[in-house]
Symmetry: C2
């Protein structure tokens, strides 16, 4: 079987004293140490990253990573916008399944705060379609369109969205690696500066620096990866069937539930249902749609929340969102939870965890299901 045998997350935040290389080294070395594996056992390094070329002028991160970690094995980079980290995990699972390698180090990394917010906002739109860029839409603008349709259709209010942010900030209080460790309340969210109506400042995940690493290997110890699925959809919102469903999420999770024989919709209340999940809450509306698309909540009811813990790390919203790192960080969080290593935020008796990582506004979705042995 394929297992996560170690995981590490750097502090997420405005890390002006850390370079891209520093973050890669810290996440890579941290994951290797946690996995108690020798460097010489690593067969392949996969880096998930979106913006290092655009923002930092540095492509070719596979070679960079093996070089600065001192590991002379193949190193590659994969990119699928904000789901680059999830894709990197998926490719690692694939390489082991293909019997090409036995142990893979996956690093998700992003350095975003060295540039001004305007430049970053423009760079992030590389995850969206040309048409969307041309009309001047921003990323929050795109999610705002989705939020408005959702709110109108289901009679949902800004207060309902705000609850997601409040919960995730509360979760992050127990995570010292989080970008924000600051409690907020509904009023603060509602009174915050408007970014793109109806999404205010606290409805948005921040621009963060950070990295995360995991060691994935063929083995019998560790937390098993029971499903690793990816699906794609059109880049732009105008070509989607629905503005309030991410079909890529639905397709990926359906495959993941089939592969892992875990289906919360069918098995609610049974011990083999999902115990906790890290979902892609780049904006508050994102978490709500995710809960529905993942089958954890009924359509139109995701805003009410669910019974299982969601985004114990603080999510993208409060833990931070260094885009290429996020999908790997989600795996680190679930790995820690299932391994009983989540410290103050430990979910009791967690056996099965799910991660959900989205690229763009749903052009890509990557879903992983992990199980404690």
């Amino acid at each position: 079987m394929i297992v996560v045998s170690g995981g590490y997350q750097t502090k997420f935040g405005e890390l002006w004293d850390k370079s891209l290389k520093d973050l890669i080294i810290e996440a890579g070395e941290g994951a290797i140490k946690d996995a108690k594996v020798k460097k010489s056992k690593i067969d392949l390094v996969i880096v998930g990253n979106k913006l290092a070329g655009k923002i930092g002028g540095q492509e070719h991160l596979g070679s960079l990573a093996i070089d600065c970690l001192g590991i002379r094995v193949p190193g590659i980079r994969v990119e699928a916008a904000c789901s680059s980290g999830g894709l990197a995990i998926h490719q690692a699972v694939l390489a082991i399944k293909a019997k090409q390698v036995e142990t893979v180090l996956v690093i998700g990394v992003e350095k975003m705060t060295d540039k001004g917010n305007g430049e970053i906002a423009e760079a992030l739109m590389g995850a969206a379609s040309e048409e969307e860029r041309r009309v001047g839409l921003s990323f929050v603008g795109l999610y705002a369109l989705m939020a408005r349709v959702y709110m109108e259709k289901f009679g949902v209010t800004k207060k309902d969205l705000a609850k997601v942010a409040v919960k995730n900030h509360k979760n992050a209080l127990k995570n010292n690696k989080a970008h924000f460790q600051k409690e907020i309340d509904i009023n603060m969210v509602l009174k915050a500066s408007m970014v793109a109506e109806p999404l205010g400042l606290f409805d948005c995940s921040p621009i963060s620096d950070g990295a995360a690493g995991v060691v994935i290997s063929k083995g019998s110890k560790g937390v098993e990866i029971v499903a690793s699925e990816i699906a794609s959809d059109s880049l732009g919102l105008s070509r989607r069937k629905s503005l309030i469903e991410l079909e890529a999420t639905q397709v990926a999770v359906k495959k993941a539930y089939l592969t892992s024989r875990i289906n919360p919709r069918l098995n609610r209340g049974r011990p083999d249902m999902v115990d906790l999940a890290e979902v892609h809450d780049c904006f508050t509306i994102g978490e709500i749609l995710a809960l529905e698309d993942l089958g954890l909540a009924k359509k139109g009811e995701g805003y009410k929340g669910v019974k299982i813990p969601i985004n114990t790390s603080g999510g993208l919203k409060a833990c931070g969102h260094p885009v290429g790192a996020t999908g790997v960080k989600q795996i680190v969080e679930i790995y820690k939870q299932l391994n009983g290593k989540a410290g103050k935020r430990q979910v009791k008796n967690a056996k099965i965890g799910l991660t959900h990582n989205v690229g763009g506004t749903g052009g890509t979705a990557v879903v992983h299901i992990l199980r404690r042995q």
Copy 2:
């Protein structure tokens, strides 16, 4: 077994009337048509690209590609600088080996001429190390350093380098998809403007737009991929053991010869030796080093050339070098040659072909060996 069942190359050159999307569509549809496969049979689309984010503001090309081709399957992007195309082929082989999919469409694409040469030269340095960028080195400057060491060590002249360019321009005369279809002679190469001593204008591959596509599948028909190997080395030249050897090439080809049980060094003259190769001649010195590192020529003798046809497509030098497309174009060329579809430039009785794609100055190398059945 895993086979190339179809391949297509767009015209390479300054394609100001073609967008990135146009090129993806032409290469994708072209490969699918050539493979005589239905679109519904494609299980996965992999895009190799380096610069679309940096130059065009467009990342997330996996989603873009499946969208503009109208194929609703997972689409991903991989990047390893100028070997992004070779890496994409390698990942396709992996996905089939892992039994995840049966048929993969691989597209290599790059749109480079929309920006000025200065901006492109700077963007290309994303494949090199931060230290190399900081001291103001250009890509041709890096290869010039390698050329100078080689020339001094082996008593090689600019005329010897020039012969590579003359040969590849001559080859390209028979390839109507080539960026240049113009015969040159030694004197023209020697008298051309100096770019970075000792490399003049005609020692350098051009800045090109273009795309190539191949369909790779599990099957019994087509040209078999008998080896697909990748190796990495340090990003910067200063951390290499030698300036006149690409260790990544040596490691990748050694694995490829072992996997395929083909070793030209041991088998020279026997029917199972390599019949032709497409090698990474981004600069004339690149082809010379490649011949040696691939074991096709002895160390210090690569400048004399070899008996088998090298770069029948015209190579990067004359066919052009849209960086993400190059590794895929090499596969298209060998596929056509082994399939007897290479037209005016057909190599008679070609049975085994090799491709060699380099990222940066050797931070990554990808080697494929293909065999006609």
